[in-house]
Each structure stands twice: as C-alpha cells, then as structure tokens.
C-alpha cells in the first residue's frame, strides 16, 4: 500500500521528532563522554585536563559501585513485581460490577498525580516516622515496638514508596487490557467447568501479557531514574544508594563532574543491559 510518495512523506513527517531526540541524545551523551575522560572539579576551578580512563576505573573500583548496582536492580525488580502482581489483581477487581466504580478508580489512580518529592515527604514524615508516624501509632496500638522503617527496612521502604506511586499506572494499563477481554470466551470456559483460578491463568493472564510487557518496559525506565524518593528519605544511606544516587553524590556532593560522568556512562550501559535483557524475555510480546 505504501507508495514511494508516501514513504518520503513519512520520512519528512518523522524528521522533526527524530532530529530533536537525536540532538537531545547526542548533546548530553557527547558531553558526558567528554567530561568522563577529564578531571573536571568545579570547586578547584573547573577543567584540570585529560585523564584518560582514570575516572572509569576509579568509579568501578570504588567500594560503593557494585552494592549500588545491586540496590538498583533490587529496587527496580521489587517495584515491578509489586506493581504488576497488585496491578493485575486490582485491575480484575475494578473490572467487576460494583457501585461507585468511577470514584474507586479515582482513588486508586490518585497516587500517580502526586509529585515524587511530596510522596517521599509524606511517607517519610507522616507514615514511617518512628515517633509520630502513622505506622508507629498503629504498631503501638497493637502493643508492638514501632519499626524504624528507614533504617531497619530501608530498601523495602523505598520499594513501598515507589510502588505506591507506580501501582496506579500499572493498574490503569492492565485495566484497559482486561476490559477488552472477550467475555464470551470467559463464559464459554465457565460453562466448560473451568474454575476461576484456571480461567485466570489460562485466559486472562495470556491476554494481559502484552500489557504487562508495556508496564515492565516503561516502569523500568522510570524506576531506574528514581531520585527524589531516596534523596528525601534516606539520602542514600542504609543501603539505599542506587547507581543514579551514586552519580549524584559524585557530581554534586563530591563535586567531581568527571567521575560522575564516568558513572553516567556506566548507568547508560546498565540501562541498556536491563533493556536488552527485558527484550529477550518479553520482547516477543511486542511483535504481532
């Protein structure tokens, strides 16, 4: 169907977006690469000259590097698991007939509207605070000692906070997918005597696989970049230092832009490894 004419028209129409993104990718990327091979120390007057791959070796041999990679993967994985499992269940629940469906939907998706800084401040101060937080009150009510969330369960706390933020997104996408599920197919299965669990695993879940892929893909990109939630709550202490946060510490706390840029290059590599890995596992769902 596509003629030569429409092909070239298509190229022209794609050009602005592709060009802009190319610039937006190349300019920072080239700058990162440039700074990563230089000793750039703002507090010592800026550029101190070419240092080869020293920043790269220093960044990767730092004792903080591998734990940061591990923390990053745990947080991304944790958030994905929680938001997808709960997201599927919530989506199924919201698809059921009920009174006030619209209001419930709003309640469920509301966390997505809250800016990350506010989310982190609210959770840290009003829920996880060991003296005045809601959880502390709850624990004391049941006669237990309040948990000091941000030190004793620091990574879990971050996962909970980020999941709360991203669960609505997963739920929304999964809900639209579930709504398109052919109800006749379900009814037929029901007639055949398939129990609800079997219906879920053999009909609903395969139908959702594409939606789940999308959720994984998009959330991974956003969760890899999580920053405010850590900055506000633990400041990277207690084992919550992700790769992004480590780069922040190098660039802004240690004021070593060269070292931080080398870290940025590693972060791009890690993100791409994760992306390729995801594509291998779930990529076929994107084809049709």
């Amino acid at each position: 169907m596509a003629t030569q004419h429409s092909r070239s028209a298509a190229r022209i129409m794609m050009a602005p977006a592709v060009f802009l993104l190319l610039v937006w990718m190349l300019v920072p990327l080239c700058m990162t690469l440039w700074f990563s091979v230089r000793s750039y120390l703002p507090l010592r007057g800026g550029d101190q000259g070419f240092v080869g791959l020293e920043n790269f070796s220093r960044f990767i041999t730092s004792s903080a590097f591998w734990p940061a990679v591990q923390t990053t993967l745990i947080i991304v994985g944790g958030v994905l698991v929680i938001s997808i499992v709960l997201g599927v269940l919530l989506a199924i629940l919201l698809d059921q007939p009920m009174w006030g469906q619209g209001v419930v939907r709003i309640l469920v998706i509301a966390p997505f509207f809250v800016m990350p800084t506010v989310t982190a401040l609210v959770w840290k101060n009003m829920f996880m605070d060991p003296t005045n937080g809601m959880f502390a009150h709850l624990w004391r009510f049941f006669g237990a000692d309040p948990v000091v969330w941000l030190t004793d369960a620091s990574v879990l706390s971050i996962i909970v906070i980020v999941s709360w933020q991203w669960l609505p997104f997963a739920t929304l996408i999964l809900l639209t997918a579930i709504q398109s599920l052919d109800s006749e197919q379900l009814e037929a299965a029901e007639m055949d005597g398939a129990n609800p669990v079997a219906r879920f695993f053999f009909i609903a879940l395969p139908h959702l696989s594409r939606a789940i892929t999308i959720v994984i893909l998009i959330q991974t990109i956003f969760v890899l970049a999580v920053f405010a939630e850590i900055f506000v709550t633990t400041g990277g202490a207690f084992g919550t230092r992700t790769l992004t946060y480590l780069i922040y510490q190098r660039v802004l706390e240690s004021q070593n832009v060269g070292l931080g840029s080398a870290g940025g290059v590693y972060a791009i590599i890690l993100a791409n490894i994760v992306a390729i890995f995801l594509m291998r596992i779930v990529g076929k769902n994107l084809d049709n």
Binding site: L41, A64, P146, F238, Q255
Partner: protein
C-alpha cells in the same frame, strides 16, 4: 473536555508572555537564595520594610538546606549569575572567597560597624583577612536539658559537664514507659547533620580527621572510642530511630517533651524556650557542650551568612540588603516586634552587651560556647585544616557525607563499628588520593 483544556493552556501561555514582559519594567530587584530556617523565614517577613526604605525589590528563593547547597554551588562554580545574594555557611565562605567567586565585603559603611561582628564569626567568614560574607546569625553547640527531669533524677547539671556525667544523667532520666529519652543527638547521615555532630564530639575524645600529611585517621583509637561511646549511650538512652534524626527531628522531639537532654546548635535555645511551639518552654536549662578532660570541648562553630557572588549585576543593591539584614537596627526591629529572645543570635558583640538581651536565659551560655570554640586549633593533636565540625577543603563535604553514612549504618545495626571505621578510612583515603592530597 480536551478543547476547554487546550483553550485554558493557550490562555495561560499568553498570560505568561505578557507577565514576563511586564516583569522587565520593574526597578531594581535582587534575588536571594536562602535556607528555610526559622530566622531566615522571619527575615523574609520584614522584606517590605527594606523595600520601603530603599526602593529595592527582593525575590526570595527559599530552599531546604541540601537543595540550597546543591543550587548555589552549581551556580557559583559555573558563574551562572542566578542569585545576587547567597546564604552560605562557614564552610563554603573561605573556600569560595579564596577562589575569587565572592565579592569582598570591604565596602561596608561606617555605621554598619564591622568591628562589632564577633571575632570568631568574622575570622570564620574571612579568607586572608578579607571578609567575604556577613553573618546573619552565628551558633555554637551546647547542652539543652530539662530542669524538671534532671531534678527528678536527683542530679544537678554542672556548667561544664563531662561526657561521663552526660551518659549517667541520660540513663537516669530515661523512662521508656513514658517515652522519655534521656538524650537526643543527631545520627542522620550528611556532613552537616550527624557528620557535624560526631566530628565535633570526636575532637573532645582526642580524634582528628587527618594527620599533618592528610592521612585519614579513622584507624586510630580515639575514633573507635568516640563511636563506641556515642552508640552505647544512644542505645541506652536515645530515641528509636536516632540514626535518622537530624536537627529538625530532635527539635521536634524536644519540643514535645520526649528528650531529657539535647546537645545541638545554640540557636535551638530560642525555639525550645518559645511557649508557642514548645511544651517544655519553662523548664529548659543550658550548659556547655561536654568534654573528656583532654582540653577540647565538643562544641562547634557555625554561621549562616550572606554573601555576594562575583557574577552579580546588582552588587550595590545586594550590599545594601546585606547591611540592612545583618545590622543592629534589624536586630532592634525584630526585638521590638517579637521580643529579644527571637532576634538572630551569635553575630554581634554589641548584642551581648545589651542589658535587655543578656537577660534572655540562653544568651550568656550561647556567648560562652561561641567564645570557647577555636576553628584554627580544633583538635588535641595538630591538624593541617581549619574548622571544628568540618575541614575547610573543597572535598570535605562529599567525603564527610559518605563517611557519616557509614557511621549511621553502624548506629542502625547494619555493620559493626570496626567495619564502619574501616570503610570510612578507605573512602577518605580514596577521595584524598583522587584529589591529589596524598
């Protein structure tokens, strides 16, 4: 719905263009970056007075301390020119001044009386004898304690306590059933939070950050003693989750009556004795920060000060504002409206000679604490750096934040004291090597 939405956005876009054009027509406006501390917020409230007097309009960029540091450091090192006045501390001022990034404050007027600034503050905000920032308020640290709880424990606070006494008193005042913690101290990671406290404390234990050749000293006995003592005392008598408590968290606990003692910034005295915010306002006593008989106390020295970045276009207006905000007449203005206890403390000698102010319960102890702090000679053994709770080198903030994270992980029980110190040693030496000191 989409149509209305789009129309709305289009309308606001037009407003935006119109309003930005209108803003240019304004007279002199200066932009001030500041921290969201109580005294600064109060100053913002009096901006109108300044504008009325001088015709200079003021725009405030008020940020939380960590974000503020990040913003002003980025701007000053790149000469971004976003701010005409920056609120910075005793750590940044000498470093930035030495780099030529700040306008020297040598054009201050006669009536401003620069010699009235407390010598310790003036020294800490100067480089090579030139003043680069004017102190808005200055502080040391001291013990704040509940007189009622101390009495109930059958103890009496000496004017200059030792760490042993503090620990015993803390244990005696602790009542876990009533949620009373004998002592509240900073444990929060961050060089300006728990890092500042433990560094100042370590001075009284004979510890130091570096030897004269810039080798990290975390493998020495005094550091082990400091951390062990701190952690043992806090586990016995401190609040739950003290490893995440900083100044604000402890202030809030103390105001709620949940702390027997609190060793922190002297400016906190006006907050804990203010009956509007504090439930324990009428039963707070003060004492010097504790020592260990080694000749150094554990109090620090700090000032929040106003400085003019070299890139500003509004140097004169900025200087005018600084003169106004750090003058004695500003102090009088606040005293008149909100009482002497609420004036910005610790910056001027004349304030402590004022008979009205010296009646304020914490005034004398604040002055004594400030006078007993010596940033040029902070430790028992000699050190190559200046600064009590910090070392005034550009790399310190980054290193000390990571080191304090290791310490906080120890307080939280995630690693042993030996691991924490070994990590601190490695981090510090690694960074000092990268910076070319070793």
């Amino acid at each position: 719905m989409t149509k209305t939405f789009g129309a709305l956005l289009g309308a606001t876009a037009l407003c935006a263009i119109a309003s930005s054009a209108a803003a240019d027509a304004h007279a002199t406006t200066i932009t001030i970056a500041t921290v969201n501390n109580g005294d600064m917020i109060r100053m913002q409230g009096y901006t109108d007075v300044f504008t009325e007097e001088t015709g200079i309009a003021v725009e405030w960029v008020t940020l939380e301390e960590n974000v503020l540091r990040q913003r002003v450091t980025t701007d000053i090192t790149t000469n971004g020119g976003q701010f005409d006045i920056m609120t910075i501390g005793m750590y940044e001022t000498p470093i930035w001044g030495a780099n030529g990034w700040l306008v020297p404050l040598d054009g201050l007027s006669e009536e401003y009386n620069v010699d009235d600034i407390l010598p310790a503050m003036r020294g800490g905000l100067s480089h090579d004898g030139t003043l680069y920032a004017a102190p808005f308020y200055g502080e040391s640290s001291m013990v704040m304690y509940r007189t009622d709880l101390m009495e109930a424990a059958g103890l009496e606070m000496p004017a200059a306590p030792t760490w042993e006494f503090i620990r015993e008193a803390a244990a005696a005042m602790t009542n876990r059933d009533a949620d009373i913690n004998g002592i509240c101290l900073r444990g929060k990671p961050g060089w300006g939070e728990g890092g500042a406290f433990i560094t100042a404390m370590s001075n009284s234990f004979g510890a130091r950050w570096f030897d004269m050749d810039w080798n990290a000293q975390f493998d020495t006995q005094p550091w082990l003693d400091t951390l062990t003592f701190y952690n043992d005392m806090m586990q016995e008598s401190g609040p739950a989750g003290f490893a995440t408590n900083g100044f604000n968290e402890n202030l809030s606990l103390f105001q709620q009556g949940l702390c027997g003692m609190w060793i922190d910034a002297t400016v906190a005295a006006s907050f804990v004795t203010n009956p509007n915010d504090s439930t324990v306002a009428d039963s707070v006593g003060f004492a010097l920060a504790p020592d260990n008989g080694l000749g150094r106390r554990s109090n620090w020295l700090w000032a929040w000060a106003l400085a003019i970045p070299a890139g500003t276009q509004q140097q004169d207006a900025a200087l005018q504002f600084i003169e106004w905000a750090t003058s004695t007449s500003y102090i009088d203005l606040v005293a008149e409206n909100e009482g002497w206890a609420n004036v910005p403390p610790g910056a001027r000698t004349s304030l402590y000679e004022n008979p009205n102010y010296i009646e304020v319960p914490f005034a004398q102890m604040t002055l004594d604490s400030i006078l007993s702090a010596d940033p040029t000679n902070p430790t028992v053994d000699p050190v190559p750096y200046v600064g009590i709770q910090f070392a005034a080198i550009p790399e310190f903030a980054g290193i000390a934040t990571e080191v304090s994270q290791e310490f906080s992980a120890f307080y939280a029980g995630q690693q042993t004291v030996e691991e924490a110190l070994a990590n601190a040693q490695a981090i510090t030496n690694e960074a000092m090597e990268a910076a070319g000191y070793r």
